[in-house]
Amino acid sequence: MYAILGLLVGVALGVFLQPVMPTALQPYLPIAIVAALDAMFGGARAYLEHTFSDRVFVVSFVSNVLIAALIVWIGDQIGVGTQLSTAVVVVLGIRIFTNAAAIRRSLFHA
């Protein structure tokens, strides 16, 4: 499956190439990762429920990452960056868990 292959190759590239993130973007990397994970779990669930669409996946991935980073950036500007990143992580975390549960149900019928 291309998706898992792409993920593994991406992780390997990231670890070995160690791309230099601009320092300004560094604080938003963890949040972007959580958002990306959320989008990927959502895509996986949609795939298992046979509603997957690559267009929606791409759009949701990009918008998730951008919006999560944007929210935290705005939070940083108004002085509540940590609280807002906590909020983003909580919301996305809940979604990830829910999606993971749905994936589990689809895969194992349990």
Binding site: L7, L13, G42
Partner: protein
């Protein structure tokens, strides 16, 4: 809000947790028409590759930081260790100094007094208030045989001789039994040479305690030596320099200070 619900619930806008739990995936997946549902592998792979890159970069950053953190920690530990070692050293030094203090204060004024006494004795020797003895040189001079004014030994001649002896390291000097001190005047009064205001009769016997070898060696080339050489050659003035292993010089009682005290304390 789930678009598939025909009618929004009354509390829909406040139903945050419900909303999160019930619509965990993008609602768009549901609204996309079945015909448009495609799964092009390369597109998906590209997106997951991007996600993987994010994760990998973050991971790499964490991995990079770990040894750095470890190094900093070890550096801090080393610094703490060095500082505590230094504290130990300083404590040892403090203990040593305190011990020394105790010893000094237990020695008390006794030690101070003995030091003062030793200093006083040393100064008394130099000042000439006590009789001293030791090895040194003896110079015996006498008037010359020539019938001339220069044939007489005068105060200036003796002054030159005495000063040269001081310069060569003499520690105590006497002339005809009169101790030469800082208050000694060697002068002429009439025909006689006076030392400590007492007239002397020839021959003059100058005794000096000190480094005999140096005094004997220094003398011939010194101005005083040249002067006395000149006197000897031209007027037949008697001059005899000998060393002595044991000389005894009397004290000069007149040097004792009665009215004067030090103007500044030490």
């Amino acid at each position: 809000m789930n678009p598939e619900e025909p009618r929004p619930r009354v509390d829909a806008s406040m139903d945050l947790l419900n909303d999160i739990v019930r619509t965990p995936i993008d609602p768009d997946y549901q609204v996309v028409p079945g015909g448009a549902r495609r799964s092009r592998g390369w597109v998906v792979a590209l997106v997951t590759l991007a996600g993987g890159l994010l994760i990998g970069a973050s991971l790499a950053g964490t991995l990079r930081q770990a040894p750095q953190v470890q190094t900093e920690r070890e550096d801090l530990l080393a610094r703490v260790q060095a500082a505590s070692d230094r504290v130990g050293e300083l404590e040892l030094a403090i203990a040593g100094v305190e011990q020394e203090n105790r010893e000094l204060s237990s020695a008390g004024t006794g030690g101070e007094e003995s030091r003062t006494a030793a200093e006083e004795a040393r100064l008394a020797v130099l000042a000439g208030t006590v009789a001293v003895r030791g090895p040194g040189v003896v110079v015996v001079v006498d008037d010359g045989t020539a019938d001339a004014t220069g044939a007489r030994v005068v105060d200036a001649d003796l002054r030159q001789l005495v000063n040269q002896l001081w310069r060569s390291g003499a520690e105590a000097i006497s002339i005809n039994g009169h101790r030469v001190t800082s208050r000694t005047a060697i002068r002429s009064a009439g025909d006689a040479v006076t030392v400590n205001y007492r007239s002397l009769t020839r021959p003059y016997r100058v005794e000096a305690i000190g480094d005999a070898a140096a005094m004997v060696a220094d003398f011939p080339d010194s101005p005083a030596g040249q002067w006395w050489g000149y006197l000897q050659q031209n007027f037949g003035v008697g001059f005899q320099l000998t060393t002595s292993d044991e000389l005894t010089l009397p004290a000069d009682q007149g040097v004792a200070a009665a009215g004067a005290t030090a103007s500044t304390g030490r």
